[in-house]
Symmetry: C4
Subunit: 201 residues, 4 copies
């Protein structure tokens, strides 16, 4: 029961974040396609952020499926994650307003970095709550994607001040890495169901 | 469990899309009914888009009811659909601002077309995941409505540049076609429940 | 299952409607309490509309609890109701902007009237779908509140052009009537559970 | 069933409140980090309000988990609580716009105070509905946090007119108190599960 509300609230917040970003794409007054020119960078940054929130929702969904009991710590770590995700629309809007400028691009990276850190904290609390035989721990394995992402965000923050275009490309790449669906948890869960009493992973 | 969150997130996003569109109807400053004059086209485009999102929610609801397991591909195809639907408020607002102008009308058609394509991709992935005896495949049958809609959107995009009024009428007609409730899936589901082991459709 | 999504979507839309109205209360630039003066009418109309949406959610909740199968007709009648409810924020904002002016007050009544009609249509479809022994039909009984409300809205629309203040008071009264919780359905449901095979009400 | 919708609606409203507040953080037009200067107070008040709504959601979640039957009174008391919470974004926006000014700070306290009162009303109705052996009554115990919070809000309202900075610090402290997770209900629930027929607490 508890977990259901936990998921419902998280889903609600992420669904709202992903949708209200579209309000940043202001309707142009003109009626020509050329009037959409100013909207294009806003649209592109919207599409990228939609992808990032989608990735977070997807991973959150897999991760929480392994949770048995929602402790107080997990609740707060989750709210902490949602807090940083809730700033994505603001950071997205600032990039959209100023195209590939240094400060907006690096702020975007900072928000993503804080969200990534919040995600790791939540992940660790869940693993800890599951004890020795943590299903999540086995499932994430070496967690290469999870470890590489913060590095990419840091690189993008640095490049924002040198070659903004490279910074932008890093953000796109860091998202695309996650598009490859994380089948590790799915696979492990199925494996465990199939072999009831074996512990090998 | 997985499916429940999948539906909850989709419902949340569609509920938000359908509702935030109303924020595009700006409250007029004057206090006469005549001050509502500028609001009328915005209101009409809002009503049409409300209908479209309602149709998508309705069809999505029927389609997902046949899903047994939500795969990674289905998750992403669903997010892809939600992405295009999330642009409906923007396209609606642009029509509302410029009444029956060519560019806004054709952009509206493009967004609907992309959403229709995203819907077909999702539908195909679900059918594929269900294997040979796909319930959804039987249920949609020849999928006449699904095949006619993109053609109508393309026609409306073309007419937008010639006779905008016809373009608008096509959008209205394309929505009304779907209002005839899609009882195929309902009927089939009931039929299958009644005849447990027969495979005929 | 079907009903769960039907409820989730309705809850989502009503939760959003009730909450985004608060965005109409624009933050004043000044920092004195006197700067809130312009906000007061907006706040009052917000409070009234919050109450109305709350009433609709409450009644919807009771009504849908009697539904066994969500038909296509019920789905569309529900969307029709949500459509009119989604216009409440706009009508509320217009009253807030122009205080007790005739046109905004009567528009508010028109939206409430259309929502009330949409509610009756939905109610009738549910009763029809339940056949002869409709639980809902028994539960609503003479439906006095439901019949008196549209009359009050019509009165308020008329008074808006004569004595706006009376119009406003009628809207407040029409809401307060509903505050008296509708225990009829609750009572009947309990009664039926207690007496399994008797048909008297 | 009833309770599920009750929770879903509350979750929805709180998820929207916590998220739309971010719309108050207006994207600056400039592209320098220095352009974010004006955004900082808005950001800080957003972070504080995010924390407050998170606390309410968390406590609401624990409290409602003890509810067996949602009565009409509980429904309305809950809507009353959601009403005051829905004004948090407005009060937050006013503080953000005017930094640590007296009127905005004291309005913020008034909204928090009204929400705290609404919470106590809801709590009392739930306790009353549970009868003599109310689980919730045992669980909240002396309810020290619940009793200290309104006092702190009143203090903050008073200090707003003398030393605004102290007022702000009180709001932060009053939130942090709640961050210490309320394990009382969790503990009690577990205890009761373990000792099926004993009544000691």
């Amino acid at each position: 029961m508890k977990k259901a509300r936990f998921e419902a609230f998280s889903d609600g917040v992420m669904a709202i974040i992903i949708t209200i970003m579209v309000l940043e794409i202001k309707v142009p007054h003109g009626e020509q396609f050329s009037d959409l020119k100013d909207v294009i960078p806003v649209f592109l940054s919207y599409a990228l952020s939609f992808l990032y929130i989608g990735i977070y929702w997807n991973n959150h969904h897999h991760m929480v499926s392994t949770v048995h009991q929602v402790t107080g710590g997990i609740l707060w770590a989750n709210l902490h994650l949602l807090f940083w995700l809730s700033l994505v629309p603001f950071a997205t809007g600032w990039i959209g307003e100023n195209h590939l400028s240094a400060a907006p691009l690096s702020l975007y990276g900072c928000v993503l970095l804080m969200a990534a850190i919040a995600y790791v904290i939540l992940q660790n609390l869940i693993i800890k709550s599951q004890g020795q035989d943590s299903l999540l721990k086995k499932a994430i394995g070496k967690d290469i994607k999870g470890k590489i992402s913060p590095v990419l965000y840091l690189a993008a923050i640095a490049f924002a001040w040198l070659y903004p275009i490279i910074s932008g490309l890093i953000y796109v790449s860091a998202a695309l890495i996650w598009l490859i669906p994380d089948k590790r948890i799915e696979r492990l869960l199925r494996q465990i169901e199939d072999t009831p009493t074996q512990n090998g992973d």
